[in-house]
């Protein structure tokens, strides 16, 4: 039964990076915000860091892939895909490594630069977004080293960079030997306490959350402040559809997973932030009168242009101890030697090379990130002893081309615990992606050699890619024909429905996306704050030029 339940000024759907940043920023200004989140809080005792079994839990309770975790808050994702996301308060940031890169100015102008596949320019520039990157960085808490000449000048991070460990040092020295650029990586990892959160103590188990609050996940970086502002965050609240009337969003119907009851919540304005898979899924589930193919989908673009980045990994082992179980797992050093499109290559776009920690002894025995397990029997001890604590991983993250055929659709053949249809992913690497990743793989080999690795396991271009970056499926664009939302994350089809999460990224750049998602969310909230009244009377979403000013 559907019962009328509540009203609010702004309804936010999803409590991850996008939803948390919007909720906090709007509530700072006294706007009444309700946020619906299908998952629960992660309780402090649910982090594996204090348990002997912390490593096998990487394949179970802290598996990246919801299809492996199979928790009641997860929804199935079908297709030839390796999805990685989390459905709890704080969203996928609860699982993330915290690599905190900004896009570069050129990343907003890839349509001008080459326009390959479905690539278009963003309707905004780096300069438009820069002030909001600054605000979001300050909220989340960033560590790093100021002065990287590969980026426009920006405020110094709040704390010094995380320690590189022997592994980070080894890769930096190798890149230096090759004459490559490198720089200490900015991370959403506190190296100085902030807001009652502890600084990182190099425990080496990021990617399974952080019970110290050192990792800037949205549950610790944003939600305590948003709740203090009075945001009504409802957990176990799974949205089934966004409701509309006469072309305007009126709110949403959600299922209270605790009781199974359906509730309707009314709002003046709706912000969708359910991520690059969850948002198109919900828009497609919201097909209704006047929107037969799903909400915001009259141009057929919802779910299309999915990007994950292009990946190739190199597990490397060395003669001498590296002790990769120590230190933040996230990247301490990176190289952007091959970041920009180079006319001498046979591909457009570029890549970043990063490093990661190694985890512990059981993970090492099981082959670490990409290799086969150590052999069993008489060969086990020599092999294990050679590998454990002698390992570094480096990988390339390439800027994949947005293509309409890479997409999220609905798959009614599988359902979540509330009976709602699964998401389905179709994603393949295009020719440009393969050329780029093949080039990157060759560079990984060179770097492994320069580092003095005695053994390597190099994946080559990965398919399916590890899908922890879910981008482009409700992209921001310049006209109602080329995108789902405008320059302010306002959907072209429903003026009081905004979409701000990974789905709204127009291009993927060659860097991790979350700092850009947060910056866009802060900017979107600022736009809503300043133009609330005008938005409520709009009957048509305008282009950037004709929209009210920010």
């Amino acid at each position: 039964m559907t019962t009328f339940d509540n009203t609010t000024d702004v309804l936010v759907i999803g409590s991850g990076m996008g939803g948390a940043a919007v909720s906090k920023r709007l509530s700072d200004a006294g706007i009444r915000v309700t946020c619906l989140e299908q998952g629960d809080w992660v309780h402090p005792t649910q982090f594996p860091h204090f348990h002997d079994e912390w490593e096998i839990e990487k394949y179970r309770s802290w598996a990246f892939d919801p299809n492996l975790r199979q928790n009641p808050e997860d929804y199935p994702i079908t297709g030839l895909t390796s999805p990685r996301l989390m459905n709890v308060v704080g969203g996928s940031t609860v699982h993330y490594a915290g690599h905190w890169f900004r896009y570069k100015p050129v990343d907003f102008r890839k349509g001008t630069e080459h326009g390959v596949g479905g690539t278009i320019d963003w309707p905004i520039s780096y300069e438009d977004l820069a002030p909001y990157y600054d605000i979001n960085d300050a909220e989340v808490g960033i560590s790093g080293l100021a002065g990287d000449p590969m980026y426009p000048p920006r405020p110094a991070p709040g704390g010094p960079p995380i320690k590189p460990g022997k592994g980070g040092r080894r890769m930096a020295e190798a890149w230096q030997r090759l004459g490559w650029q490198w720089w200490p990586t900015e991370n959403a990892i506190l190296t100085r306490g902030q807001d009652g959160r502890f600084s990182c103590n190099s425990c080496g188990n990021c990617l399974s959350g952080c019970p110290r609050g050192s990792l800037g996940s949205a549950d610790v970086a944003y939600w305590p402040k948003a709740l203090r502002n009075g945001v009504d965050l409802r957990t176990f609240a799974r949205v089934e559809s966004i409701t509309t009337r006469n072309g305007r969003a009126t709110g949403a119907i959600y299922i209270d997973r605790l009781t199974g009851a359906r509730h309707e919540i009314k709002a003046d304005l709706v912000v969708l932030a359910a991520n690059g898979v969850g948002s198109p899924r919900l828009l497609l589930m919201s097909a209704q009168k006047g929107h037969p193919d799903g909400l915001c989908n009259s141009n057929g673009m919802v779910g299309t242009h999915l990007m994950h980045h292009t990946w190739s990994f190199a597990d490397m082992w060395f003669e001498d101890p590296i002790e990769g179980y120590k230190g933040a797992v996230g990247c301490s050093v990176h190289s952007q030697q091959f970041y920009d499109t180079d006319a001498s290559h046979d591909f457009v776009n570029g890549m970043t090379f990063l490093t990661l920690g190694s985890f512990g002894a059981a993970y090492s025995a099981m082959g670490t990130h990409t290799a086969a397990p150590d052999p069993w029997g008489a060969a086990h001890r020599p092999s294990f002893n050679k590998h454990f604590g002698h390992h570094v991983v480096s990988f390339m993250q390439g800027d994949d081309i947005p293509r309409p055929e890479n997409r999220v659709t609905l798959d009614p053949s599988a359902i979540d615990s509330s009976g709602l249809p699964a998401a389905h992913i179709e994603y393949s690497l295009g020719e440009n992606d393969i050329s780029l990743a093949t080039f990157g793989t060759e560079r990984l080999k060179e770097a492994a050699e320069a580092a003095g690795a005695t053994e390597t396991n190099i994946t080559g271009p990965m398919h399916p890619p590890p899908a922890w970056h879910l981008m482009g499926t409700c992209r921001m664009g310049n006209t109602p024909d080329d995108s789902v939302v405008n320059a302010y994350n306002q959907s072209w089809e429903v003026p009081n429905l905004f979409i701000v999460d990974g789905s709204s990224l127009t291009t993927g750049a060659a860097v991790n996306p979350t700092s850009t998602i947060g910056a866009l969310a802060v900017r979107c909230a600022e736009y809503i704050k300043r133009n609330h009244r005008q938005i409520l009377s709009q009957t048509k979403t305008q282009t950037k030029e004709l929209s009210p000013a920010l």
Binding site: D40, F50, H51, D52, E55, Y59, R60, S61, A63, Q70, P105, V106, F108, T112, E113, H114, E127, P149, M150, Y151, P152, P161, K163, P164, R169, W182, W183, C200, N201, S202, C203, G204, N205, L258, T259, P321, I322, E323, Q336, Q337, T341, D342, A343, S344, D346, F347, G360, A361, A362, S364, M366, P373, W376, G377, A378, H380, R381, F388, G389, H390
Partner: protein
């Protein structure tokens, strides 16, 4: 006198029970003595003792780990390493007599056949043995005798590794490179692919 209100059951309990839980299944699977002996003998062949490392069967790999990470028959959702109690026990029973009767060379031979003929079951045995063995406190002590493991303490917290993680010291980034400014972005044509 004020009345005491007894709260109703918290529905969250149900969801927690259905979720993957830390430390494996709360109610351990019960193996027979024969199954424990066979699993211990298998684990001891997968990771032979020696070089200061104890035998898996001597550090509770089966009793403390296999029992929690094999999915009990009454639990619907089967998670990594996807070993279901009924099938897993049946597979152990099928090999127990021959395996226990064999000498070490014979056991190695049987495991090699198992790896070839029943890769899923073999993969479960290996994942449980490797995952369990390298998480047992006695094995952590042995790991610390390795040059690369001297500071290793298993569970990442509460201690962390802040005191012993290599720092930046004299390592300074080269400070080279630049970026393309917004106004400098131009059409770029790349080489044709072969």
């Amino acid at each position: 006198m004020a009345s005491v209100v007894i709260p109703l059951e918290d529905p969250r309990d149900r969801f927690r029970a259905d979720s993957s839980q830390l430390g494996g299944n709360p109610v351990p699977v019960v193996f027979t003595d024969r199954q424990i002996a066979a699993l211990g003998a298998i684990a001891d062949e997968l990771i032979p003792a020696g070089d200061g490392f104890p035998a898996p069967s001597s550090v509770g790999v089966v009793e403390e780990f296999f029992t929690r990470y094999v999915t009990p028959a009454d639990i619907v959702v089967n998670r990594f390493p996807y070993a279901r109690e009924t099938e897993f026990k049946a597979a152990v029973d099928a090999l127990a007599d021959d395996f226990l009767a064999a000498n070490s060379a014979g056991r190695v031979n049987q495991l090699a056949n198992l790896e070839r003929d029943e890769p899923d079951f073999f993969g479960q045995l290996r994942a449980l043995t490797y995952g369990g063995y390298y998480s047992r406190p006695a094995v952590l002590v042995a790991l610390r005798s390795l040059p690369a493991g001297r500071d290793y303490h298993g569970a990442p917290l509460p201690r962390g590794y802040d005191q012993t993680t290599a720092d930046w010291d004299d390592l300074i980034p080269p400070g080279v490179g630049s970026y393309i400014r917004t106004t400098d972005v131009v059409r770029t044509t790349v080489k044709a692919r072969p």
